[in-house]
Amino acid sequence: MKDQEHRGIPQTTPRQSATFSQDVNSDIRRAAATGIYDIRGGGAKRRVPNFDDLLFMGASISRYPLEGYREKCETKVTLGTRFAKNPIELDIPITIAGMSFGALSGPAKEALGRGANAAGTSTTTGDGGMTPEERGHSSKLVYQYLPSRYGMNPDDLRKADAIEIVVGQGAKPGGGGMLLGQKISDRVAEMRNLPKGIDQRSSCRHPDWTGPDDLEIKILELREITNWRVPIYVKIAGARPYFDTTLAIKAGADVVVLDGMQGGTAATQDVFIEHVGQPTLACIRPAVQALQDMGMHREVQLVVSGGIRSGADVAKALALGADAVAIGTAALIALGDNDPRWEAEYNKLGTTAGAYDDWHEGRDPAGITTQDPELMARFDPVEGGRRLKNYLKVMTLEAQTIARACGKNHMHNLEPEDMVALTMEAAAMAQVPLAGTNWYPGKGGF
């Protein structure tokens, strides 16, 4: 080639394969060297149709906007109005998704509670049970009821403000989990009734019920134990949102939590995260349709999670019919996860800020997804809580700004008719018109 160049013959530039990209090749080399699939944290990293593919149209002659600094745009939301004696009242339609003590450090969980409290919203436990610190710092705490039942006990159940039966998780519909031995401190081991240092597997199915008929009886049992006091949520992955929402409602859920494939996990196979489940955007309309078909829209509340990053995302999810959203990954970033200030240390781990996802290894430079006392000490839960509060406030202000521009005095008054889609895919998934048209795929039978 050099010779050709020297002889003045034009040469083709080196061409990378679209099929065998550098990313793909590195996966192959890693698999060949280790003999094991890649496990990581977080949600789907591939590009999927998402909220960025939607736009609000705002007010015009036919829509009357509200004055940004004068006219009210309500953000309060009540979850669990169907059966519970004490529904959860939130000041903002943004909640903190379930993340476990074990996957996260104690101070990180404390910060989530502090931030959520200050913003007037709820936090959620995760696999591993409820810690006293978490309960103490969260005025509204949702207690997850998971297949592993690690740490599950009736005393904590009665302390919860709501119970979330986890059927699925967006990052891994149909999958369980594994907390690797290096993150199993004495305290984590004790809470999970297992020896220190061994991998702790979380099964993919609940041990004592199978199918929707059993789920109905399980919900009855939990209601009886808690004297019908607190709402029962059912969390489903973005797998078959229409049918799963329908079955959750039939089983007696007060709230359906719907988690799309961008939703994070503490640790799962990369192949699972990237290839199983549906994008959040694709899941909302079928779930809302199920609620409407059952006559339960707004009676059973829908909380959507998986890739929510901004007030615009919140507004779009609500406009599609959700009652609230939940954030996980975004909350961790607000706390300081993947912050470029730790770049040198990310480099030592063979990664870079923004791409770090080996949360299961417990070596998080930011001190958030770790049980290492030295790393944990880097994280200040008071400062972390303040940052989360700020972030939640900004998201709320952003969502209100959009809602007012659309003439809405409550976030829940946003509707699909306020939006257009930028791509055919998003138009089809969100069932809103492609920008510049009055049509979306499937409309009118086409």
């Binding site: 159940l157 061994i198 991998d199 041990p207 004592d208 009886i217 049992e221």
Partner: protein, 227 residues
């Protein structure tokens, strides 16, 4: 003795009344009649009371029990004593699937047979089954003791952790990472105590102990075929 007609009074009123009992209650004896296979009978109890259920129960009888003694004069549906923390549950008849699932403590006695997944994910509970148990029992069992006077079905103790499994009869097959273990004097003592408390007529020496081989405790690709 307080007698409650479940059919007449309803499940909510029954559980509410049982939940209202405190540690120093003098209403310590309760009888439930007309159980008729109802679900969630006597769940979430937390007082030193004795509850006798006349007839068979549906799902989750005695679920998450603490302190109370519950006697079922019949058979029990799925998940009897699920996630119980303490106290005692005795089922005179048979038990359906998931008996004692995820239980943290206390004693569950099944005088008949127990179906599949008995003691699944158990976390400290003691379970004594006078008859046989079904397949996949003690799956992912973490701690506690499962005692079976009869036979065990397929895949006993699959992926179990530190739970001790004692079987007097035949075991159709062992699950992944479950193996026969040496019966040491301390195990004989544990068995003796449990058999006595469960009213079981058997000698500890007649049992074989099974438990985790601990090969799957930390993921190793060389063990991939076992998963």
């Amino acid at each position: 003795m307080q007698t409650i007609d479940l059919e007449a009074k309803g499940l909510r009123a029954l559980n509410e009344q049982l939940h209202a009992q405190t540690a120093d209650t003098n209403q310590t004896a309760w009888e439930i009649v007309n159980a008729r296979g109802s679900h969630a009978i006597a769940v979430g109890l937390d007082a030193p009371i004795e509850v006798t259920v006349k007839g068979s129960t549906g799902y989750y009888c005695g679920g998450m029990n603490k302190q109370a003694t519950i006697n079922v004069h019949g058979s029990a549906g799925p998940g009897v004593g699920e996630n119980m923390m303490s106290g005692t549950i005795v089922v005179d008849g048979d038990a359906s699937q998931y008996a004692g699932a995820t239980g943290h403590g206390g004693l569950l006695v099944i005088k008949g047979n127990a179906s599949s997944r008995c003691g699944i994910s158990m976390k400290g509970i003691d379970i004594v089954v006078h008859g046989n148990i079904g397949h996949m029992s003690a799956f992912m069992a973490q701690s506690g003791n499962l005692v079976v006077l009869g036979d065990a079905g397929d895949a006993l103790g699959d992926s179990c952790y530190e739970a001790r499994l004692f079987v007097r009869g035949k075991v159709k097959s062992l699950g992944a990472d479950c193996e026969e273990k040496e019966m040491r004097p301390e195990h004989i003592e544990i068995l003796k105590d449990l058999l006595e408390r469960a009213g079981a007529d058997a000698k500890p020496e007649e049992f074989t102990r099974y438990g985790s081989a601990r090969n799957l405790y930390n993921f190793d690709v060389d063990n991939a075929s076992a998963y």
